[in-house]
C-alpha cells in the first residue's frame, strides 16, 4: 500500500494497467507479414536467391521484429520467451519436411513398378535394356534371413533377459547389462565384418572344400548380432514390470523357480516381449550393410539359405540404385516402397500392441 503510493502515486487501478500487457495476435501476424515482405523485397530486389531464401530471411526478420516490438510492449524477458517458442516450433516444422518428402517420393516413384511382375519374378536374365525384372528373390531372401535370425536371436535374447532379471546379481550381471547397452550401438557394418571374418572366411571353408561360401545363413548370423541386444533390452524391461506378488504366489504354491519363470513370468510379459521382437525384426529387415558383405547377392531365386548367394530387399534397393540401366531406379524405388511398407507395418503393429499391453501402462 505504502510502496504503491510512493512509487506510482495517482495511478488509477483499472483492469488495463494492472494486467500484464500481451502482444495482440494482429500485431504478431503483422510483423510476420512485414518480415516476409521485406525479405521478398531484399531477395528479389538484389536478385540473390529464390523463395527458400525469402522464407529463411523472412523468419529471421520476423524474429528480429518480434524481439523489438514485443520488447517494447511486453518487456525483454517475455520477448525472449516468444523468440525461443518460435524457434522451437520452427524446429518441429523443419523436422517434418524431410519425412514428408521421403514419404511422398516413396509413394509417387514407387507405384511406377508396383505390379504383379515385380513381385513374381527375379532379376535372372534381366539385362540393362529389359524393363521387367522384379524383387521376388529379394523378398524370399529377406524373409528367410530375418526368419532364421529371429529363430536364433529370440531364445538367446529372452534367456539373456531372464538371466538379467531373475538370476543376475552383482558385478557380472551389471557388466552384462552394460555391454548389452553398448552392443546396441555397434555399427551394422562391423557386425557384417565380424561374420565375414568369422563365418564366411574361417568356418564356412570347412564345409565347402576350403573356399569361402557366401550365404543367406551368414546374413542371418550378422542380423542376429544386431537383433540380440535390442531383444534383451526390451524383454528385460518387460520382465521387470511383472509384479513380484505373481512370482511369490507361484513360489508359495511350491513351484520351482524355472517353472515359475516359464509358466507365470513369461506368459505375463509375453505381449511386451512380442512388441520388442517385432521392433527388432523391423530394424533387421532394413539392414543393408551386413547383408552386402556376407550374403553374396544373387540375381536368381534361391530358396536355400545355406548354399549359394542370396539377395535381400534392402540389398536389392542398393544394387538397383547403383545400376546403370535406365529401368533400375524404378525398380529400386518400388523395392524401397515394399521394404518401408514391411518395416512400418511391423513397427506400427508393435506400437499398437504395446499400447494395448496392460503391463506397460
Amino acid at each position: 500500500m505504502s510502496l504503491l503510493d510512493r512509487e506510482a502515486a495517482g495511478v488509477v487501478m483499472t483492469p488495463d494497467n494492472i494486467r500484464t500487457k500481451r502482444l495482440p495476435l494482429g500485431i504478431n501476424l503483422g510483423i510476420a507479414a512485414a518480415g516476409l515482405l521485406i525479405a521478398a523485397a531484399v531477395v528479389y530486389g538484389f536478385g540473390i536467391g529464390n523463395y527458400v531464401l525469402v522464407v529463411v530471411l523472412g523468419v529471421v526478420f520476423y524474429l528480429i521484429g518480434l524481439q523489438v516490438v514485443a520488447g517494447r510492449i511486453e518487456g525483454p524477458r517475455t520477448a525472449r520467451d516468444r523468440m525461443w517458442k518460435t524457434l522451437i516450433y520452427a524446429a518441429c516444422v523443419l523436422a517434418i519436411l524431410p519425412l514428408a518428402s521421403v514419404v511422398w517420393t516413396l509413394v509417387s516413384k514407387g507405384v511406377e513398378r508396383l505390379d504383379g511382375n515385380f513381385f513374381g519374378t527375379s532379376m535372372n536374365n534381366i539385362g540393362a535394356r529389359d524393363p521387367e525384372g522384379g524383387a521376388y528373390h529379394a523378398i524370399i531372401g529377406t524373409l528367410e534371413q530375418v526368419g532364421i535370425a529371429t529363430l536364433i536371436a529370440v531364445p538367446l535374447g529372452v534367456l539373456g533377459a531372464i538371466y538379467l532379471v531373475e538370476y543376475g546379481r552383482g558385478r557380472f550381471a551389471n557388466t552384462v547389462r552394460f555391454f548389452v547397452d553398448v552392443m546396441t550401438g555397434i555399427p551394422s557394418i562391423v557386425a557384417g565384418l565380424f561374420i565375414l571374418s568369422f563365418w564366411v572366411l574361417i568356418v564356412s571353408p570347412w564345409f565347402n572344400n576350403g573356399t569361402p561360401r557366401f550365404s543367406g545363413f551368414a546374413a542371418s548370423l550378422a542380423l542376429t548380432v544386431l537383433m540380440l541386444p535390442t531383444i534383451v533390452r526390451s524383454t528385460e524391461e518387460m520382465l521387470r514390470l511383472v509384479p513380484g506378488p505373481l512370482r511369490e504366489g507361484a513360489y508359495a504354491l511350491g513351484v520351482p523357480q524355472w517353472k515359475t519363470i516359464l509358466k507365470v513370468v513369461l506368459p505375463t510379459a509375453l505381449p511386451g516381449i512380442v512388441t520388442g521382437v517385432m521392433l527388432a525384426v523391423a530394424r533387421a529387415a532394413g539392414e543393408t550393410a551386413p547383408v552386402l558383405l556376407v550374403a553374396g547377392g544373387a540375381a536368381s531365386i534361391n530358396f536355400n539359405p545355406f548354399e549359394g548367394g542370396q539377395q535381400s530387399l534392402a540389398l536389392f534397393v542398393y544394387q538397383q540404385a547403383g545400376d546403370a540401366s535406365r529401368y533400375a531406379p524404378a525398380r529400386a524405388w518400388t523395392a524401397a516402397l515394399t521394404l518401408v511398407a514391411i518395416v512400418l507395418i511391423l513397427t506400427i503393429a508393435a506400437k499398437l500392441l504395446a499400447r494395448r499391453n496392460s503391463l506397460s501402462k
Binding site: 525472449r80 520467451d81 517458442k85 522451437i88 524446429a91 518441429c92 523436422a95 524431410p98 519425412l99 518428402s101 521421403v102 517420393t105 516413396l106 531364445p155 538367446l156 534367456l159 539373456g160 538370476y167 543376475g168 557388466t175 552384462v176 555391454f179 548389452v180 547397452d181 546396441t184 550401438g185 555397434i186 555399427p187 551394422s188 557394418i189 562391423v190 565384418l193 565380424f194 565375414l196 571374418s197 572366411l201 548380432v225 540380440l228 509384479p243 513380484g244 511369490e248 511350491g254 513351484v255 520351482p256 523357480q257 524355472w258 515359475t260 519363470i261 521392433l279 532394413g286 543393408t288 550393410a289 534397393v317 542398393y318 540404385a321 524405388w333 524401397a336 512400418l344 513397427t347 506400437k351
Partner: protein
C-alpha cells in the same frame, strides 16, 4: 518336473524353504529365490528331498547365464576375429596404416592408410550433429513442454517412425531427390560465400560432404530426440513449479530447471547419436562423392567415410583388400565402442544417482 520326481507335497516343502529364506531380505519387490543351495530351515529329517545337482533348475539357470554371457562373448569375438584378419593385411601394407591417405590394397604391393577415411568419418558426423542436435533438442522440448498432449503423442510417434525407416531408403532419397536442392544451395553458397574456405572451390557441387551430412542429420535426429524427450520429461515437477512461482517465463523455467537437470542425459543422447553417425554405412555410400583426399571443403563433390568405403570397395577386394577393409572396420569398431561406452557410463551414473536420491 525333472528334478522333483517324488510326491507333490515334498516338492512344496523344498521350495518353501527357499522362499522363506528370501522373504527376509526383500519381500514384495519381486526378487526370486535364485539361491536354492541355502540349507532348509529346521532340518526336517527325511521329509525333504535331496537337492538334485543337475536338475531342471540348475540346467535352466545355466542356460540363462550362458545366454547372458553370450553378449560378452560376441563383443570379445568381434574384436578377436577382426584383429585376426586385420593383422596380416596391415603387415602386408607398404605404408603407415594410420597416416597414409590413399587406398590401394588390391595391388601386388598394397599401399593403404586410414587417414582420409577417419577424417571423412569425423567430418560428416560432426557436421551432422551440428545440424541435428539443436533441432532435436527443439523438438524434444516441444514434445515435453510445449505441445498439447493431443499433438505430442502423434508427433512423437512420427519421430519414432522416422527412426524405423531403413538407411538405404534415406540413401536413395538423398541421391535421387535431395541432391538437387543441395546442389542449388551449394552453388548459392559458393557464389556469395566462396571467401570462406569451406564453401570455396569451383565445383562440381552436389555429391558432397554437405549432402551426406544433411542426410545423416535426418537419420540421427530421432535418436537424439527420443532420448532427450525422456530426460526432459523426468524433470521434477517441483523444480519447474518453483521456477514459475518465482516469476520465470516459460523459457526461463526451461533454462533454469529443465536444461540443467537434463544435461547429462542430453550429452549421452548426443554421444549415442554420434555413435550412430560414425557407423552409418549405406546412406553415406550413396550420397558421398567417395574421393581420397583430405579437404575441409564441404560443398564440392567429395567426402568419404570408413563405413562407406567398406561398402563401396568390398566388391572388388581381393584377400589383402578384404583384410584392409576389416582393419578399417576394426578402427571403426574401436571408436564406436569407446563413444558408446562413454555415453552409457554417463547414463548409468545418472541412474544410480537418481535411485539413491529417491
Amino acid at each position: 518336473m525333472g528334478d522333483y520326481p517324488s510326491s507333490r507335497s515334498e516338492n512344496a516343502t523344498a521350495s518353501d524353504s527357499g522362499v522363506i529364506g528370501r522373504h527376509t531380505r526383500g519381500a514384495g519387490t519381486g526378487v526370486s529365490p535364485s539361491s536354492h543351495d541355502e540349507p532348509p530351515f529346521g532340518g526336517g529329517g527325511g521329509a525333504l528331498p535331496k537337492k538334485a545337482r543337475f536338475g531342471m533348475e540348475a540346467g535352466f539357470k545355466g542356460l540363462s547365464v550362458a545366454a547372458g554371457a553370450m553378449v560378452l562373448v560376441i563383443i570379445v569375438a568381434i574384436a578377436i576375429f577382426l584383429i585376426s584378419k586385420a593383422v596380416p593385411a596391415i603387415r602386408a601394407d607398404n605404408e603407415n596404416f594410420l597416416t597414409f591417405n590413399q587406398w590401394f590394397p588390391n595391388e601386388t604391393e598394397p599401399r593403404f592408410g586410414i587417414a582420409v577415411l577417419a577424417f571423412g568419418t569425423l567430418l560428416t558426423s560432426i557436421i551432422a550433429l551440428l545440424v541435428a542436435v539443436p533441432i532435436a533438442l527443439g523438438i524434444a522440448l516441444f514434445l515435453s513442454h510445449y505441445a498439447p498432449r493431443r499433438l505430442a503423442t502423434p508427433l512423437g510417434f512420427v519421430i519414432d517412425l522416422l527412426a524405423a525407416v531403413p538407411s538405404v531408403v534415406f540413401g536413395l532419397w538423398g541421391r535421387d531427390v535431395f541432391m538437387e536442392p543441395v546442389r542449388e544451395f551449394s552453388t548459392w553458397l559458393n557464389k556469395y560465400f566462396s571467401w570462406i574456405p569451406i564453401f570455396g572451390g569451383d565445383g562440381p557441387f552436389g555429391r558432397s560432404v554437405l549432402l551426406g551430412s544433411l542426410v545423416l542429420a535426418i537419420m540421427v535426429l530421432p535418436i537424439v530426440t527420443s532420448l532427450s524427450r525422456e530426460v526432459f520429461r523426468q524433470t521434477p515437477g517441483m523444480n519447474e513449479e518453483a521456477a514459475l512461482a518465482l516469476g520465470a517465463t516459460k523459457w526461463e523455467m526451461i533454462r533454469t530447471a529443465v536444461l540443467p537437470y537434463g544435461k547429462p542425459g542430453v550429452i549421452a543422447a548426443v554421444m549415442l547419436g554420434l555413435g550412430r553417425a560414425l557407423g552409418e554405412t549405406i546412406a553415406l555410400a550413396m550420397t558421398l562423392g567417395i574421393v581420397f583426399n583430405i579437404s575441409f571443403n564441404i560443398i564440392e563433390n567429395g567426402g568419404n567415410s570408413i563405413a562407406a568405403n567398406i561398402a563401396n570397395a568390398f566388391g572388388e577386394a581381393n584377400e589383402t583388400g578384404r583384410g584392409a577393409l576389416i582393419a578399417s572396420g576394426l578402427v571403426l569398431f574401436a571408436i564406436t565402442l569407446v563413444v558408446n561406452m562413454a555415453a552409457r557410463a554417463i547414463i548409468y551414473r545418472r541412474r544410480e544417482f537418481r535411485d539413491s536420491a529417491a
